[in-house]
Symmetry: C2
Subunit: 247 residues, 2 copies
């Protein structure tokens, strides 16, 4: 039986999703050992997104095969009783035996969270990137609109990443702000993302809002396919994989 | 010169505010050692609230005397460059040389945060108490109204606490909920609080919302002065000292 888990985690204490050669603590590694403890089986989960060190998730997905007689939906309470509290299984369900979470068409949504104010309150520090000074949120929203659609996003890909194609479709980019302006959330939905793409997009939008990159330069930066024209890669702590929609 | 600091902290990693006999890490201890590093002086701050282990603050206050030539408002950036990121100085200002934060009339506000849902998202776990099952928020709000005013709050005081009087004035108790109902915040403002009083008040309101304590029993519980009739002391992680108003 193939089971799909929806997994939420606070990535602060982890070296990312993927099991590492050295014994660093990873989300995947902790899931595998918890499934071993629960079922007695040697299980290696297949994740939908291999999030980086320090990145959070509300709805990453993974699948695994098990001969266990545990009903699919019972993996939620069973695993949550074993897992540390910074990893939670939000949902578990049976899927087709050939279902692979990276070989299906999905829309994936990330959120990049910014704390905008002079001093970052301690309770925000692990989940938001701290920014101070005047920001033009309207310009940020206009720049976001330029990023939507099918584009070659090579300018928004970390140098050295090896991929067949750097063309992706971004269905939506929008910016939400709290009433007091302290919380700025950049939501990006796409059919897939290059390495560090959302963190570079967020860094570019932030530079636009600070007036350091002109709004009208965004189409040129995209067209250039040149990483050096885009903004900086923002820190991992602000990034959260919100979830997946199956197309 | 006497300086007053407004201090925010994530209490998760601390054994509370007050310096302990054994070498546990406390907010007060870290502030004292940071002030020593900054000024070279042996400084013992005087805190307004000695919050318990695991309790958070957005606006605790403390004062100290210093012969340093650092301008009062410059203690904010100077201390924040030394302090760990889970403690932040939000404000620093000069006060009268005889000002003592526990010997003035103040209104103090606490917030008790609850996450209401089947599974607590990992990013909420350090700052909210997790509760699942039906809750009657309307009843909680009605019960909160009974707690307002000047009362003998002995029934809402941890056993064994030694105080001259258990009479306090609660100016306001109200409950705020997020649109989706997942976040429940109980705000309590008073002129002072007994040991564990807010956590017991919150526990009592929660029992009312679950139908385990009758709304009409709240006045009787207050009148009884009997701790056993009130609800449980909720965990420290949900409690946050929001701040002070000087009367």
């Amino acid at each position: 039986m193939r089971i799909m888990l929806t997994v939420a985690y606070d990535g602060t204490a982890y070296h990312g999703w993927q099991v590492q050669a050295h014994e660093e603590k990873t989300i995947e590694g902790v899931l595998n050992s918890s499934l071993k403890e629960l079922t007695g089986e040697d299980i290696s989960v297949i994740g939908a997104s291999r999030t980086d060190a320090g990145v959070h998730a509300l709805g990453n997905l993974c699948v695994f095969d098990s001969a266990s007689t545990i009903p699919p939906e019972r993996f939620v309470p069973a695993l949550n009783s074993i897992l540390p509290p910074d990893i939670r299984i939000m949902k578990s369900e049976a899927v087709d035996s050939d279902f692979h979470p990276r070989h299906v068409n999905t829309r994936k949504t990330y959120r990049y969270g910014i704390y905008h104010g002079e001093i970052c309150p301690p309770m925000e520090r692990l989940y938001r990137h701290h920014v101070y000074g005047p920001l033009d949120i309207g310009a940020m929203q206009e720049a976001a609109a330029y990023m939507m659609g099918e584009h070659d996003f090579a300018a928004f890909c970390a140098a050295g990443a090896q991929v067949d194609s750097t063309v992706r479709t971004v269905y939506d980019v929008h910016v939400e702000t709290s009433e007091n302006g302290e919380h700025i959330d950049i939501y990006v939905t796409g059919n897939g993302f290059l390495y560090n793409m959302v963190r570079i997009m967020a860094g570019t939008l932030l530079e636009v809002s600070r007036g350091r990159i002109a709004l009208s330069d965004i189409p040129k930066i995209i067209k250039s396919r040149d990483r050096s024209g885009a903004g900086p890669t923002l820190p991992a702590c602000g990034l959260c994989l919100v979830g997946y929609d199956f197309c």
